[in-house]
Symmetry: C2
Subunit: 317 residues, 2 copies
Amino acid sequence: MSVQKAAVVGTGVIGTGWIVRMLANGYDVVATDPAEGAEEHMRRAVEQAWPYAEQLGLAEGASKGRLTFEKELAEAVKDADIIQENVPEVEELKQTVLQNIDRHAKPDAIIGSSTSGIMPSELQANLQHPERFVVAHPFHPVYILPLVEVVPGEQTTTENTEKAKAFYEAIQMRVLLVRHEIEGHIADRLIEAIWRESLHIVNEGIATTEEVDKAFTHGAGMRYAQYGPFLTFHLAGGEGGMRHMLKQFGPALKKPWTKLEAPELTDELYDKVVSGCEEQSNGMSMSELDAHRNEFLVKLYDLVQEYWPKETEKTRV
Amino acid sequence: MSVQKAAVVGTGVIGTGWIVRMLANGYDVVATDPAEGAEEHMRRAVEQAWPYAEQLGLAEGASKGRLTFEKELAEAVKDADIIQENVPEVEELKQTVLQNIDRHAKPDAIIGSSTSGIMPSELQANLQHPERFVVAHPFHPVYILPLVEVVPGEQTTTENTEKAKAFYEAIQMRVLLVRHEIEGHIADRLIEAIWRESLHIVNEGIATTEEVDKAFTHGAGMRYAQYGPFLTFHLAGGEGGMRHMLKQFGPALKKPWTKLEAPELTDELYDKVVSGCEEQSNGMSMSELDAHRNEFLVKLYDLVQEYWPKETEKTRV
């Protein structure tokens, strides 16, 4: 089966993001949402996002005209090859809507849920055809950011996971296959860690929301657009890479540098982290990685200068 | 006093980063480090970094030729107007070196420490002239990333904090004045939160280091180059901004989405976060913020496509 027609259930910020990405990649999309004024709201959101999709490049034949809205969920999903569910993050509601989708969709249609945190085995437990269900968790704005976490549940077949993966790749996404179910999948666990620490800092009166944001964007945030937490620290270790880094900053795991409890830095964890970084360097030497990062950051620096938010008046000392 | 001459104590990754930034901004720099081969290592590091400093733009008269190396700390610091300390992150060592600097420097020279996590009041406690000491914590690579956290201690005078701030601004940095001392200052608390959660994920066998990195860079990491954790969530809330966001994802604070304990979302914290986000939006409407972010991300997307690390062979499902 190759996907001809997609359905989007729930047309909030995430749902409309999916719609734009699917349309821009040349698919027919049927959308549904029971809310008052949903169609109008959806069409306005699609209009607003479309210029950015155009700048990124439209597939041949891609058109906003290939979007239809159906008031009835049963009608919306019945011919779709893939159905993307984006209702609010309330487990009971998601269960009910997914059962409805499952009942009215073709038995071999893929069902993907955009859930931020709920595990797929829970969401598929009461479906008639659980084997075609995956979590497919995107990031806002969905029509620009390429990451999607695809998480199969216990009952999902390998074949269907592959089908889902192929579809998300076809709409220009970077698929991260999450091999083990966990609440918050992977990315949101990192985001939630930053979020909780940020809230603690504001809660304790250490800094304002603006100061916290600035502490991130003008430093580490720039690095994270290119390299994640591991490769960033691998590079901060100089020629010794992660090996040196863990010697230098491993002890900080014992300190109250965040409210977060750290794991014990066992030999096994040490080996996993060091060999992981060496492997993902893909044969690039430390100085090649270093130059690669610098070239990127210099270009990024020009760009962010123009796009960082303007600072509000600061409290002077 | 305006700074004419800078001294850099400790010439590892951070120390050489400062040297390049200071030279590129037209200062005379004297460096010192007791390690075997330190001068040669330093000069090589400066050579490697220089082309990026050039691309960002050199100040008039800026030259690598204005760097000298002194084996003796006393000699290196004696004429300097600002002295930047970058020895390893071991408190006793920093205390000893800072006392040496304090003894040999001019009494009104500013002393800045690059410490990642130690509080300034502790580091200045045993100085003869503690009033001119600040923490000035930069981010790697120091010659590109603009953030510096300036943290005065209990004994630092307002005048000296202002002098330090003016110097770091003169070398093209974005100064975040940290008004309350806390271990890890602000930025490293966020970085440490990500780092600890990342280690837990690898430790529990959920994902590899490469998968964790990808979960970050292809999604949230791109956003964080422009907006920090607060403005990002403000935008994710759609037209309702942070107000809606806290309603939607506030309950996730109670869930095990990270190993990090969350603060209680009290009315007071709610108000601080919502009004903070509204204030830092600087009068931009949600749709203006949204468009501003999209314009940035579309340009960033072209850039990162070229600079993201190549993926290693993936385990297929």
